[in-house]
Amino acid sequence: MNELIPIMVIIPMTCALLLSLFSNQNKLIKGLAFFVAICIPIIPLLSNYGLHYFGGHAPLISNLTGVLYHPAVTYSFQSLQKLFIFLLGILVFLVVFIYINSYKKASGPYLFLIFMGTAAITALMLSDDIFHMFIFFEIAALVQVGIIAASSIEDRYETALKYMIMGSIGGPMLLLGIGILLAITGSVNITDIVYAINHNLVSMNSPVFLLACGLIFFGWLYTSGLPPFHTIKSAVYSKAEPHAAALLQAFTVITLVSILIAMFRIFSNLPIFEALLVGFALLAMILGISMALTQNDFRRMIGFLAVGELGFIVLGIGLNTEFALTAGLFQAINEMIVTALLFIGFGVVADLIKTSDIRKTGGLIAYYPKLAIMILIGGFSMAGVPPLNGFQSKLMLIQASLSSGFPEISIIAILVSIATFVVFVKVFYAMFLKPKPNDLVIPNKKVPRSTIFAMAILLIMCIILGLFPSIITGYISGFVGGLL
């Protein structure tokens, strides 16, 4: 059923508008949000692979040149899109489930932001049109600002404003790059652009083409939160509500992957493109872990770790072999799951004890043992401890870099994984194991069941993907085979 392809975007978007419209009717918006949150992961499972042309404008063949071109905005739904949109749907369901169970009165505008962000990110993943991608990225960026501003954490407005200011540099550069690409190829459809490049209709040595590549690359750094935008991105995560932070990092990972795949298709013949990818991947890994180790705020610590983990994804793509690409995309899936688990887990602790400073915490294992164990396993997964999912993807990445002739990258990846483990030892000891400080007040409140449920689902996914990685890698390698 190819008709379901645009429905994946239309349903959350319509739901967002309805939630905003009926924001005064608490029961209605809770019911609607819950129902649509269940539907979102189901639709990609029911849909067939294929293409959707908006307005019914199928590709045309030029009478003059015999070249096929796409006049319509095109959505492409393949195995990778299925995987990411399904996983995003699961996360949206868990986030909405936590939200509507945590608050007696749900906020229509807040749920609007969650569903509009979901629609924008889904469109970004599906689109084969680079300008369309930019528009939906901008919508997603505004949604992220709204979600931060709607949280109850101190300094949220300042962080939201800073993110917008950064966006005022990154966004226009991305648009300028897309504009230059349109000017030299005559199309914003990625398939058409790739055709023009592969058939020498555009010179890859042209300084204008290289400039377009540089500008789009810079814009992508902003969209992904890679250095030099890692500081603001980690601040964004730490200022959102726990469930929202879990969703925001999923938005970031999907944005990174979708724009990176588009760039890879267009620019992968440029030798410098892969070198830049590997360079920024290593920088993200090194800066992310170094900054995470020095933090005293555990939410910020996870924020920096999340940014550092993005480096592993980019590394896989930058190595440009089938195995490395599969490993990088598998790492993206794992990061979405593990980081969501950790943001929810650490966030709920911060909500309960009203502090996220590890110097003021301690002895929490006696009060929240289930939570402690789930956070510990999540941390092990992120650090790459076997037999969890993080281990599988990191092992694949290390093997890929060794077989590509870059043993240095393997060593760096191992060092970063060890340092990630140290971060978790530090934070777990400081929060749960060391003696409880006298001035720390533990409220007589239990961890909400909805939060435990969401964390348990994510944890089960970590374990299953760790034991049976082929469930995911089969889908990914099918897509990668077509990409190369």
Binding site: T159, K162, I165, M166, I169, G170, M173, M204, N205, P207, L210, L211, C213, G214, L215, F217, F218, L221, P227, P228, F229, H230, T231, I232, A235, L270, P271, I272, E274, A275, L276, V278, L282, M285, I286, L287, I289, S290, M291, L293, T294, N296, I358, R359, F406, E408, I409, I411, I412, L415, V416, A419, V422, V423, K426, Y429, A430
Partner: protein, 106 residues
Amino acid sequence: MRFYDKLIGIFKSFKDSTSNTGVSANLTAELTLISTLLMACLLLRHINILLSAVILLGFAVVLLTNMPLIPKFKSEQDDSLNKMLFYVIITLGFIITIMYWGGNFV
């Protein structure tokens, strides 16, 4: 400056890390930073082995003589908008320069 004063200066630079876990984490960060950056320099051997050796040695000297790096490093990456904007503009300049003049030579 005497060695003792240098040592005291180093201790004072770790303002927020007077606990065991804090100091251990900062030391880990310091070692991770140095080792990973030096390892990354080795990647330049794919361009030129001599260039890699020269940069590696130069970088090692700079890193080791400027220890502790983490306090300086942390202050450069705080939430100050000015610092963020500075590094954003520097990166934009770097990418465009590399792309424009070095586009096809790696």
